[in-house]
Subunit: 562 residues, 2 copies
């Protein structure tokens, strides 16, 4: 097994998710009117870890962090962009997919985390199209192999050059004994609706498919000879942009770098603080509510820009969650707390609702939606403590509903004069933030209990005390001051004593009741199988395909079909 | 890892799935009018493998084979039974679930196969209720732990004795660091709709939940004091039976033992033969079509009993598939062939359609439905060869649609005078046999291609030659005699060269496009996570929980959350 930890390049001590276009090494982001060109031109020497070169536009997490950043910039800094064209800056290759030597050397945990992040980024491309009017065209000149083709699959439209050599392929299985796990198998079947037996042929054909057959099999939308490629791209971009409802002349806001102070025991942002208790394997994430009322106009919101409370909080929390996922891998549980005035949180929710048709309000809602999905998909026990002085209301109440368990204190805590704990729902809880299963956290909670769902809706805006919240089924336990500390301590100690793997599996099952969607299938069916394969000697053993790739030696397989 | 092969008990050379009530060691099947009592009273010394005792009504595959057989008997031999009561023959324990020492000693492959079979058996209990009017009541007196409670979850109604000690629990995670993987997590959430945070508490509480809280949390339907238990059971059975549409006075048919000849190179049944080519890791399964026309009345069908062609074929094929799963684990691919007259097959389909409201015709259809699902869920590459003289028509055409790839020969093969290959669809292909995803194999094939689905329906009953079948999208490739042998040989050699694990993962993704159901979630989300955990040292390593259970030593866990 490959569980010796590879070293981060350039002596870095942790993986950092913050970047900006001036610092990109692998992507170029260009904007021209309603079209943005995202060019992948990977710096071979720019690997995030030591020990491999990113040849042939192959990628690692560092490359994908830049892509995720670029997509955020297009949403917030360039609201007039309606169509993105994804292309390669290298001749004869679009993208060779995830770097194989990186994968071969990565720990199991990193492989899993890496795939989760890249999946979230591809889902964000589709979300931008579905919800934000930001369409993506992918132009493949050269080879799009494995993760390269999976990136294309996230686009609305794929053009393949008809030059006798440009191909799409998913060679993971024949070449590496793993799956096209960044959504590939699911999108081929459930998005592009490739016939299943053709998908079988495609996914076992190392050299891939090109030309007319790629269209006939629905793997790409169109093949175009090189002589007509530019014209076709321009035409398709026009069509894609036409369907967009993005604002035509809006000016974006600048996403300022996040202020953060990293210490051995945590991270402090402006509105979020993360406190690590290593011996207890706990991370406590505290969110601060707004200190001022919402601005009095959308113009004022735009003026506040990335300091606008809901946006700043979301960006900080997103960064904190990613940091915990990758840099605090021993953490058993994340405990969410909040400090602030719940009425003030509701006021911001009301402001965003009142201006729901403004592009910035929409993007902020969508960022929260993606962030909350990311939290649902985080393999840590999620616990929310609703205490005196907290502000779990509206959007922030989603953190109560996302938790595996929530605890709420009855009355004051007798230690200070903070107001008794309250919980409040808002319109935001009833549709703004669907989970990956396509339904809200409240609907997932009350799967067969329409009465509770209706009752909850009727109490929208009310400040619920602990007993009311427990009766309404919104928190797991309401506890009084006498039991509070002990109950929670015992629970968290118990949680830390369980097998981390079994908890991951259990939580992944209990969190996502009800329907499944393409997105949830990617994180359930596809990812869980891939994680299994990432443990199997046929892939990751000393004689397995990932290790033997490029050595000239063939892998040796255990032939048992399990 | 526990991959030393445990020995079958009593010197047995292979796992055998055929049994009958006279040979049961663990279950008693009693029938009294419209009610059947299935009593679990496990023989401690009756383990299928050496090395463990089946204490506390715990089970292994051998116990579950008897349960599956009993359910088949109730369907075919006792058509007047409308309600089953599942109970324990032991005091103070209903069922302790899968035997832990058995699991700890089992190979990874056996764990996976065992869970798949037990899941299929529980799904069959639900199918009997949903489709065959055969309801199940589960009465829990004593502890129902882990797989014991999961068995109860398959019932329509669960009564728990209110005696201060009878409890239900899913202690897999705290006790063994694995999941309640026999549908437990899924059924708690998606069938019983237990609130997800309560499910979290329940699944991490080793001692389980009893009394009123078990009802309040929806874990059971009713708690009843011992003094009123018999009356409550009788009453509930009456209610369950009332809703049934099973025939009131029908006499069943005897399911005769299957004739089979086992040799080192295969198994011969009456209508099915399995030929193993060990060096190529291939199993060729040949099905024989009917030699006589269908009987001229339902009475005559009942008279034929288990010799009636569709029933006999289904029982033999089911046994053959199970044998391959467990006893031919090195097999890479199953190749389906058939011999017979496609018109004759269609005549049987027409006969079953004409008598669809007869209980036996219904049970035969439902058996085929379950059998075809079992084939879909078999982790072998499935290949169907449509050759001259074959009879893939109607119900048998499902084997073409279930295949990962199908090949059809154009024209005769020049070697003999068998009629050219034909393929024919029937009404049976358009609704009788939904997959676990809830839609037919044709609908799964043409997910976004209503035109092809409609065109296929319009050709119902036509004998399609290879080119027509290929054009209609019903086979993967139509090949002529010149290419046939080489193409198929190369394909099968290639398949055998791939990683078996990666194939399992790929096929599990490509086969099940479209919607997901509770059943498909069990085999995808839940099973795939469980299989991952079954590879993780925290569960199966030398210091893992499964190995250390009962030793007095605590397991040692890798604390990384993946």
């Amino acid at each position: 097994m490959a569980d010796a930890e590879p070293k981060l390049a350039n002596g870095a001590g942790r993986i950092v998710f913050q970047t900006d276009p001036s610092r990109y090494r692998h992507w170029q982001l260009a904007v021209d009117g309603e079209v943005s060109t995202l060019t992948l031109d990977v710096d071979e020497k720019g690997g995030l870890f030591e020990g491999y070169e990113l040849k042939l536009n192959s990628y690692d997490l560092g490359v994908d962090i830049e892509l995720a950043d670029a997509l955020m910039r297009l949403r917030f800094e360039h609201p007039a962009v309606r169509a993105i064209v994804l292309r390669s800056g290298k001749p004869r290759v679009f993208c060779a997919g995830a770097n194989i030597r990186m994968l071969a050397g990565a720990t199991h945990a990193h492989k899993v985390n890496f795939c989760k992040f890249t999946n979230e980024t591809r889902n964000a491309i589709e979300d931008a199209s579905a919800c934000s009017g930001l369409r993506t065209l992918c132009v493949i000149s050269g080879t799009a192999a494995g993760g390269g083709y999976e990136l294309a699959l996230a686009a609305d439209y794929i053009i393949l050059a008809d030059d006798g050599s440009s191909t799409v392929s998913l060679p993971e299985l024949p070449l590496l004994a793993v799956l096209p796990g960044t959504g590939g198998l699911t999108r081929v079947i459930d998005k592009r609706k490739v016939r299943r037996d053709r998908a079988d042929v495609f996914c076992t054909t190392e050299e891939g498919i090109k030309g007319k057959r790629a269209v006939e099999w629905r793997l790409v939308d169109e093949v175009v000879p090189n002589s007509k490629l530019d014209a076709a791209v321009a035409e398709r971009l026009r069509t894609l942009a036409e369907g967009s409802n993005r604002p035509q002349d809006a000016k974006g806001i600048a996403l300022k770098p996040l202020d953060r102070q990293v210490s051995p025991t945590g991270i402090d942002y402006w509105l979020v603080s993360v406190e690590l208790a290593a011996p207890q394997r706990l991370a406590t994430v505290t969110l601060r509510g707004p200190e001022t009322p919402p601005p009095d106009s959308v113009a004022a919101m735009v003026e506040e820009g990335s300091d606008f409370w809901p946006l700043r909080l979301a960006r900080e929390l997103d960064d904190a969650i990613l940091d915990l996922r990758f840099n605090a891998i021993d953490t058993a549980a994340i405990v969410f707390k909040s400090i602030g005035d719940p009425e003030a949180v509701l006021a911001y929710d009301a402001f965003l609702d009142a201006h729901a048709d403004h592009w910035l309000a929409r993007e902020i809602r969508l960022l929260w939606k993606r962030l909350l999905k990311r939290i649902d998909l985080t393999s840590r026990t999620l616990v929310t403590l609703v205490e005196p002085g907290s502000c779990f209301a509206g959007t922030l109440a989603e953190l109560v509903l996302a938790a595996d368990r929530s605890y709420m204190l009855i009355g004051g805590d007798g230690r200070d004069n903070r107001p008794a704990a309250t919980l409040a729902l808002a319109a935001a809880n009833f549709g703004h933030y669907p989970m990956v299963n396509g339904i809200t956290r409240l609907a997932s909670r009350f799967l067969d209990d329409a009465a509770s769902l209706t009752a909850a809706r009727e109490r929208t805006g009310e400040m619920l005390d602990a007993e009311a919240a427990e009766t309404a089924g919104l928190v797991t336990f309401a506890l009084d001051d006498i039991d509070w500390d002990d109950e929670i301590r015992v629970f968290l100690e118990e949680r830390a004593s369980f097998s981390p793997d079994a908890l991951t599996g259990m939580e992944a099952n209990l969190r996502f009741g009800g329907p499944e969607t393409m997105e949830s299938k990617i994180f359930a069916r596809l990812t869980a199988w891939q994680n299994w394969i990432f443990q199997r000697p046929n892939a990751v053993g000393a004689e397995g395909a990932l290790r033997r790739y490029g050595t000239g030696q063939k892998p040796v397989f255990d032939t048992k079909r399990v």
